[in-house]
């Protein structure tokens, strides 16, 4: 399998993991390790001075894992720039999952503010991976602004609805000069496999693994699905026929009558 390269860094795994919604930090760590991922997201929150809870960072800091801080909670480009600076300081990385979703009901990304923030953050030296609408025009603009990847949504965050934006993601993949990471809405390994078969560079999965009956097994299932999908893409899928008529794959010589 080809390696994934983002901003000059090579990745063997094409599965990125989110860290939300796990029942415990221990379970999250086991799922991360089972998934084989090398890219893991982390959010930020205000510290509670009188609550010395477990530090989640120690569960995700492994030598092979690139931390990907997100800007969840910001409502516009200005807040995103502030959050990015805080993230770089706290986590010691200039990699950033830029996400600006002002509406808490649907959590859909604000395209105007996302583009504005990408332009600023790239100039400030950040490696910007923007979570964005599955909008081929926007994705080109983000790429021109210097985004390291584009991360179009398959469906709204946490819905597990799969590739609702499939046709648009196809166009984005066809046009993109940077890796296309399908983010949000992937609810089953088959969704991830399909995205990879279409030529997506990677998938970012969180809810589908975290809320599974057995998150560690599900992390493994996603790992295998992403590998299978990518292998199929690189192998070159056969074309889909335009007719309902069959095309024999066995010789039709009637040997029983001979």
């Amino acid at each position: 399998m080809e390696k994934l390269i983002i901003a000059g860094r090579e990745f063997d795994s094409r599965l990125f993991l989110g860290t939300g919604k796990f029942n415990s930090n221990e379970l999250m760590e086991q799922a991360i390790l089972a998934s084989g991922t090398e890219m893991v997201t982390v959010a930020m929150k205000r510290i509670e001075l009188d609550n010395k809870e477990d530090d989640m960072l120690k569960h995700i800091r492994h030598p092979h894992i690139q931390l990907l801080p997100n800007t969840s909670g910001v409502r516009d480009a200005e807040e995103a720039v502030f959050a990015a600076q805080m993230a770089r300081e706290a986590f010691g990385t200039n990699w950033l999952k830029l996400e600006i979703h002002p509406d808490p009901r649907y959590l859909l990304p604000d395209s105007v503010e996302t583009l504005k923030a990408t332009e600023k953050l790239v100039k400030m030296g950040f490696v910007v991976l923007p979570y964005c609408q599955a909008d081929p025009v926007l994705c080109r603009q983000l790429e021109e602004a210097g985004a390291a990847t584009v991360m179009p949504l398959a469906a709204p965050i946490g819905t597990n609805k799969g590739l609702q934006t499939k046709d648009f993601i196809r166009i984005i993949i066809e046009q993109a000069g940077v890796p296309v990471v399908v983010d949000a809405g992937i609810g089953a390994p088959s969704h991830a496999a399909e995205a990879m078969e279409m030529g997506a560079s990677a998938c970012l999965v969180n809810t589908a693994i975290a809320v599974a009956g057995n998150p560690v097994e599900m992390a493994t299932a996603f790992k295998e699905a992403v590998i299978a999908g990518r292998r199929a893409y690189e192998a070159g899928l056969g074309s889909v026929g335009n007719t309902l008529e069959a095309s024999a794959s066995s010789p039709l010589t009637a040997f029983l009558n001979n």
Binding site: V42, R46, D55
Partner: protein
């Protein structure tokens, strides 16, 4: 003097610097970031940065999220 740390009122010494506040709050040596009045202050500048009265200090750390 009075300042606000993550929206909670705190009494601190006049002319306190960020490093002294961090020590007072027992902040960990890594994994946190701090801003004074919406300006992020790098750890390397904590000892040179004085906190004004009524300042809003924000301190963040890692949280689970996708």
């Amino acid at each position: 003097m009075k300042i606000y740390v993550n929206n909670k009122e705190h009494e601190v010494a006049e002319h306190i610097h960020v490093d002294a506040l961090a020590a007072q709050l027992e902040l960990p040596g890594q994994g946190v970031a701090l801003a004074v009045n919406n300006k992020m202050i790098p750890r390397t500048e904590w000892n040179a940065t004085e906190i004004p009265a009524e300042a809003h200090v924000v301190i963040i750390k890692a949280a689970c999220g996708g």
